[in-house]
């Protein structure tokens, strides 16, 4: 039974770390309609910043400041935010699929920079020995992971509460107005360009937080963690959970990561060992099938957007 508890704790840590990135994407796509196809890139910036700020010193590699965990988290968010501000300003005239193509290209570029800029990122060897703060405060893998889960839950809770407050504020209503019709919003004196940039930066900062939490947990970062498949996974989580709903974003992360991992578990149990080497293909089919069926049954995601009608709108 201990094994099961231990695994569930581990599962929740990983899926909630993904959930943080999904919350960031939800602010951008769900509420503002920004098609960011570069999630992996902004997660990578946060992850590497965390590794550089909190990791141990290494010969021939920059960084190794051994700063505290919380400083690392804040630094990661700041770095992702700065990266996003530059990208956001450069792409401010792009919408929809054009923005998607641009951000996708930027994410690929960031991954290649991580791969090649050895002095900063350790190149293809990555950065090792990133401390996990829970290891200093607890004994045994289960206690350590439970403590780390607590830290992830606090991060998710704060992010969730802040986002809920933001999207219900006047600024949040402005996001939706711009998403629905930016010409109409501009005619009311709002500045869609500026608000889009703000939402983009804020969303990317949250993705950076996700990357930082992942790196501290795993203790290692390499360019191979930020391939385009990560962007795809985060997007799938948002679409399945229901975009423009923060609860949906978190639920989507749990469900999609659950399907992703559980399908492998089930195949290892059900498929006879002689043909398990072919099981990888079956797992991919199973993941695809479950996602397609979910979307057919619930096209707006498991929990879609809650519709609000103004109190002042009368018949």
């Amino acid at each position: 039974m201990i094994g099961l508890v231990s695994y569930i704790v581990f599962f929740l840590i990983l899926s909630l770390i993904f959930g943080v990135a999904v919350l960031g994407l939800n602010l951008q796509w769900g509420f503002t309609g920004l098609f960011n196809a570069g999630v992996a890139g902004f997660t990578a910036i946060g992850a590497y910043t965390m590794a550089i700020l909190t990791g141990p010193a290494r010969d021939a590699v920059f960084g190794g400041f051994e700063l505290p965990f919380v400083v690392g988290l804040i630094g990661a968010m700041a770095a992702s935010g700065m990266g996003a501000a530059i990208v956001g300003l450069a792409t401010s005239s792009l919408r929809h699929e054009y923005l998607a193509v641009a951000t996708f290209g930027i994410a690929v570029t960031i991954q290649l920079v991580c791969l090649n800029w050895e002095y900063l990122t350790g190149g293809t060897l990555g950065l090792i020995g990133i401390p996990n703060p829970s290891k200093a405060w607890a004994d045994g893998p289960l206690a350590q992971n439970a403590l780390y889960l607590l830290m992830v839950l606090v991060s998710v809770g704060l992010t969730f509460a802040a986002l809920e407050r933001i999207v219900k504020s006047p600024w949040g209503r402005m996001l939706k107005a711009i998403r629905e019709d930016d010409v109409a919003a501009a005619s009311l004196g709002k500045s869609p360009e500026r608000v889009r940039l703000e939402a983009f930066v804020l969303g990317c900062m949250i993705m950076g937080l996700s990357g930082a939490l992942y790196v501290s947990f795993i203790g290692y970062v390499s360019p191979w963690d930020f391939l385009p498949i990560l962007t795809f996974q985060i997007w799938t989580m948002l679409i399945v959970g229901g975009s423009a709903n923060n609860r949906g974003a978190l639920l989507g992360a749990l469900i999609v990561w659950g399907v992703w991992t559980m399908s492998g578990f089930i195949i290892s149990r059900v498929v006879p060992s002689e043909i398990q080497a072919q099981g990888g293909a079956m797992q991919a089919v199973l993941i695809g099938l479950i996602l397609v069926v979910t979307l057919l049954i619930r096209p707006r995601g498991l929990i879609g957007e809650e519709l609000h009608v103004s109190r002042h709108a009368g018949p």
Binding site: G3, L115, I128, Y220, L254, R269, G280, A284
Partner: protein, 420 residues
């Protein structure tokens, strides 16, 4: 939907835990985390099948401590998060005490630091080549739970440098693939060749799967090198070689083991490669290797050509022998017994059901053994690394001919000289 999946997991997990709670409850489970789908899927699938083959042979010899061994394979899809989850699930839900895998270092390393070491489970990789593992081990962060049956880059750069200098080249350009494998190899090569009296004119990294490498080749041509050390894989390697030769580069090529491939020779044209030399991990000249190759051919109807097949067979067999030797099955006892079943003073035992049965008899009599396997005699150093014998080769017409052979002991001596 969440509830349904949760329920399935709980039911499956409970049945799993029930059968693996005690130390020697049957069956004994061995976890494997390998990329059987995704970009490495083709390679991973054959490795996974060979791992199963090793388990089947052990079971033919009566299994471990009287129990049949169950091989539980999980796919990493080549992604670190998926691999880490799979490993954690094997440890927590299946109760495995040893993991075989993964293939790429980018997956093996997160598994090691976030699952194997904290859970005190042994991890043996067939294929991960990154130097980061050696660094971690030297810092004590692997706590001895990490082993690999893949001979590290260390010997590759040494033999490459020796071959270059022995051929009379003094100014060598280096073009290498920008992966952990290529970077580690090129950096070591630079140090080794300096010790042997050669020198480097340039170190140029290239990224995989580009249409052209003209810029990299042009850069490598600077300084008028008399030879080129090329660390590449066949498709990109052929592109680079063609551009190198057409831009006036020397045909004195020294190439790494991955280019010992007909695809590469044909894509460039053998007539242009007559001054090329290469090295490779040699099949040790041992009956154990021939017998593995024969058994493999009989089982899979084809020779064991491909990365990781010999080394995964030995990874599985060594772990199972260590379990047999320790008498109970915990990560700690497997870790402590791996060197006892590969002891240089031990009685030699060989792969295959008879060899394993013989090993079990010897262990029951309290003797130490030396497993001489599909990759020859394994000898793990303090960091869990092994060395392998090397051979050198060249092309004669279209034919790939061997020009030299260095045994494991000679390779170890060369490395001692270079590091000393």
């Amino acid at each position: 939907m969440l509830q349904k999946f949760g329920l399935a997991a709980v039911v499956a997990a409970l049945t799993g835990i029930g059968s693996s709670a005690g130390a020697v409850d049957c069956p004994v489970k061995l976890g494997a985390i390998l990329p059987v789908s995704g970009p490495m899927g083709q390679v991973g699938e054959r490795i996974a099948e060979t791992g199963l083959f090793a388990v089947e042979q052990f079971n033919e010899a009566g299994g471990v401590l009287g129990c049949p061994v169950e091989y539980v394979l999980r796919d990493t899809q080549g992604q670190s998060a998926v691999g880490v989850d799979a490993a954690k699930s094997l440890v927590d839900l299946d109760g495995v005490q040893a993991l075989i895998g993964a293939v790429s270092s980018g997956v093996s390393l997160p598994v090691l630091t976030s699952v194997a070491v904290p859970s005190k489970v042994v991890q043996v990789s067939c294929c991960s080549s990154s130097e980061s593992f050696t660094t971690l081990a030297e810092e004590g962060k692997t706590e001895g739970y990490w082993f690999r049956t893949y001979a590290t880059n260390r010997s590759q750069s040494a033999i490459g440098a020796k071959l270059t200098v022995d051929s009379g080249f003094r100014k060598t350009a280096v073009i290498y693939v920008n992966t952990d494998f290529g970077v580690g190899l090129a950096k070591r090569f630079e140090r080794d060749i300096a010790k042997l009296g050669g020198s480097i004119t340039s170190l140029v990294a290239y990224n995989e799967s580009q249409q052209s490498y003209r810029a990299e080749v042009t850069k490598a041509l600077e300084g008028n090198p008399d030879s080129l050390f090329l660390v590449a894989f066949p498709v990109d390697g052929a592109t680079i070689t063609r551009e190198w030769l057409s831009l006036g580069g020397t045909d004195n090529l020294i190439v790494n083991n991955s280019l010992r491939s007909d695809d590469y020779f044909q894509a460039v044209g053998s007539q242009f490669l007559q001054n090329m030399q290469g090295y490779d991990s040699a099949q040790p000249r041992l009956p154990s290797v021939d017998s593995f190759n024969e058994m493999f051919e009989a089982r899979f109807e084809g020779p064991p050509n491909g990365p990781g097949l010999h080394s995964v067979y030995d990874a599985v067999t060594v772990v199972l022998l260590a379990m047999e030797a320790s008498g109970d099955i915990t990560g700690d006892s497997i870790r402590d017994n791996i060197r006892l079943v590969t002891s240089p003073d031990g009685v030699e035992v060989y792969p295959g059901p008879e060899g394993i049965a013989r090993a079990k008899e010897l262990l029951a009599e309290g003797k130490t053994i030396r497993y001489v396997g599909a990759t020859g005699a394994l000898s793990f150093d303090g960091n869990g690394d092994v060395q392998a014998p090397k051979m050198t080769w060249k092309l004669d017409g279209d034919e790939n001919v061997e020009t030299g052979y260095m045994s494991t002991a000679e390779v170890a001596e060369l490395i001692r000289m270079l590091d000393g």
